[in-house]
Symmetry: C2
Subunit: 334 residues, 2 copies
C-alpha cells in the first residue's frame, strides 16, 4: 500500500469485500432500511438467559453467514478482526472461540467496523493473508444496562440522546475479486472537544468525523461531491447537523449525497430521539443497504466514516470528557 | 509478508524495534528485573485523584519516552496501536488524544502488546507506514477494583492468584534499521478449557500459549531449543507449570531457555502468590530486560508469546468460562 498525504492509505493490490451479512432486531427491521435487512430476530433474547449471551449468539450467526455468503469455509479465514461495546469486547471473544481462527480484538466503539475493515485491507494488501473476517455488533438491552441504567429503572431519555441498535454486520475482505473494492483507508486521530454528557454522543463525535473527512479530502485532493454517497455513523440527527456546520467552516459542503447512518436507521414514526447508535449501526447498514446499492450500480464511489465515542462509565463518572475517533474507508464499484 | 504453514507470518521487508521504554511501580522496581527497569514511580497515584487517571498519565509518559528513545518526533508516528485492561481501553484512548496521531485500539487483555507489535510488523511490511507506536499498561489498583474487589475491602487472595503489575511498555516499530528485527508473527486462536475461576488465570491461559507455540513450531519446523530465549507472559508459576506439562504432551520440551514473565517479575521475597499479571507485565519486561539482553548480544533469537484472558466481570458473573488467546512474535538480533 502507499501513503497519500499525511493520513490516507491507498490499497494497491486486489482487496475486495467478497461477502457480507447483517442481523438486526425488530425495531431496526421496522426502520428505514427494512427492505435491505434480510435477516432479523424477533426475540432479542435469542432464547438465552441474558442479553449478553444473546448478543454473542447473534454475532456468531453473523460471522457464519458472512463466511457462507463469501462461498468460503471457516478454514479459509486467515484472521478474524472485530470488537463490540461490551466490556473487554466479550461478545467478539466468545465468537472467536466458536470460529477457531486467529483473532485480534479491535476496540473503537461505534467505529469498530471501519477500523477493522481498514486494518483488514492493509493486511490483505501486505500479502500474508487471503481472507479476513471483520464483524461487530451492539445490543440495546445489553448496552443500556452496561453504560446507562438497568432497563427496569425505566429512566427518561434526553431529547438529544440516541438509541443503541440491536444489530450487527460481518464482512469478508479478500484478495479474490468481487465488484466492491476497498480502495482507500484513513485511520482517525482522537478528538475531544470537551463534551462530558454521555447522552449527547453525537455532539462529542462530530469533531472526530470532521477531522477524518477533512484530512481525507485534503490528502486525496477530492471534495464531497466527488463521491456518490458519503455515510457517517452514528452521529444522529443533532450530531450530523453539527458535522455539517463544522465541516463547512473547513471549506467542505455536505449535500444530498451525505447521510448519517444513525440518523437514518429508524423511521420517523419510531420516535427514536436523534436516531440510532452502537457498533452495529454502521456495520449493519453497510452490510445491507450500501453493499446492495453498490452491487446494483447506484453507488459507484462511497465513503464510510464510522465514528466512535471512546469513554467508559468510569471515566465519565470521574468527570472526564469524551474522546472520539472516526475511521474512514473508500469503497469503489469495479 | 508471506504466510508460512497455517498461522505464521514471515516479515519480509525491514521491520525493526527502533525504540522502547518502560515505566513501573515500586513493587515491580524491587523485583527480579530491578536492574533493567530504568524508570519507576514511587507514587502510584502520580499526583492524580484516581488510579485510573494515574494509569493514563503513566501511559502517556511511556509513549513520550518510546518516541524519544527512537530519536523521532510525534509527527513521525504514522499510527498508534494499543490497549489496556480498563473498560473500553480508556487509558489508551486518552493517551491517543494527547499524541494526535491516527489511533486504532487493540484489546487482547495481557497479550495486547504482542497483538499490537504483530499488527504493526505486518503493517510496516505492507509499505504504507514508516513508524508505528505500540504500547500498553496495567495498574494494580485500577485493575483490582474493576475486576475484583475495592481495595478497601481487603479481601484475602487465593494462593493460586496473580498480582496485576503496575507497569507498562512502549515500542516504536519502524522500516528504519536497528539491530532488533521483528521477523515472524503468529496471531493466536481463542482457547477455552472451561476454567471459570477468575483467580486462576494461569490455568485458563496455559492452553492458549500451548496452542500458539505448537502451531508456530509446526509452521516454522523449529523446536524450543532453536531459540535463545522463549518468554510467555503472564501465566505465573502455576500456569507455566501447566504449559510445560501440556506442551510436552504435544512433543515439545520447554527447558532452561524458557521463562514466564509473570512468574519471574517479582522476587521470591515479595510473596506475590503465582507472580505478576496484567497487560504491562510482558510489555515492560520486553521493553527493558529482553531488549537489553538482545542489544548486548546475549539473546539472538527470541520468542515472546504474551497471553490474554478475555473474560469480563459480567461474563464471569453469568457463569461463562474464560476464553484465552496468545499472540507470538519472533525477534532476531541482526
Amino acid at each position: 500500500m502507499k501513503r497519500i498525504g499525511n493520513q490516507t492509505l491507498e490499497i494497491l493490490s486486489d482487496c475486495y469485500i467478497v461477502g457480507a451479512s447483517s442481523l438486526v432486531g425488530e425495531k431496526e427491521k421496522n426502520g428505514t432500511y427494512k427492505n435491505y435487512f434480510k435477516n432479523s430476530v424477533e426475540d432479542d433474547r435469542m432464547g438465552e438467559k441474558t442479553f449478553e449471551k444473546a448478543e454473542r449468539k447473534m454475532l456468531s450467526l453473523i460471522n457464519k453467514d458472512a463466511v457462507k455468503n463469501s462461498k468460503l469455509k471457516n478454514s479459509d479465514i486467515d484472521l478474524y478482526l472485530g470488537g463490540d461495546l461490551m466490556n473487554q469486547i466479550v461478545s467478539s471473544n466468545y465468537s472467536a472461540e466458536v470460529l477457531q481462527v486467529p483473532f485480534v480484538g479491535v476496540y473503537s466503539a461505534c467505529s469498530t467496523i471501519t477500523a477493522s475493515l481498514g486494518l483488514a485491507a492493509c493486511l490483505i494488501d501486505g500479502g500474508g493473508f487471503d481472507n479476513i473476517l471483520c464483524s461487530t455488533i451492539s445490543h440495546f438491552s445489553a448496552a443500556e444496562r452496561q453504560y446507562r441504567y438497568p432497563l427496569e429503572f425505566g429512566n427518561q431519555r434526553q431529547s438529544y440522546s440516541q438509541w443503541t441498535v440491536t444489530a450487527g454486520g460481518g464482512f469478508v475482505v479478500s484478495n479474490k475479486k468481487s465488484n466492491i473494492k476497498i480502495k482507500k483507508v484513513c485511520f482517525g486521530r482522537v478528538q475531544d472537544f470537551g463534551v462530558i454528557d454521555i447522552a449527547n454522543m453525537g455532539a462529542a463525535m462530530a469533531p472526530a468525523a470532521c477531522d477524518t473527512l477533512c484530512n481525507f479530502f485534503a490528502d486525496t485532493k477530492t471534495k464531497p461531491n466527488d463521491y456518490d454517497f458519503i455515510a457517517t455513523g452514528d452521529l444522529g440527527k443533532l450530531g450530523s447537523d453539527i458535522l455539517r456546520d463544522l465541516i463547512s467552516k473547513r471549506g467542505y459542503v455536505l449535500e444530498q449525497n451525505y447521510i448519517d447512518l444513525g440518523h437514518s436507521i429508524y423511521s420517523f414514526e419510531e420516535e427514536s430521539y436523534q436516531g440510532g447508535s452502537g457498533a452495529g449501526c454502521s456495520a449493519s447498514v453497510l452490510a445491507s443497504y450500501i453493499i446492495e446499492k453498490m452491487k446494483s450500480g447506484v453507488f459507484k464511489k462511497v465513503l464510510v466514516a464510522a465514528t466512535g465515542a471512546l469513554m467508559s462509565t468510569t471515566s465519565n463518572q470521574q468527570g472526564d470528557s469524551i474522546p472520539c475517533v472516526s475511521h474512514l474507508i473508500e469503497l469503489v464499484l469495479e
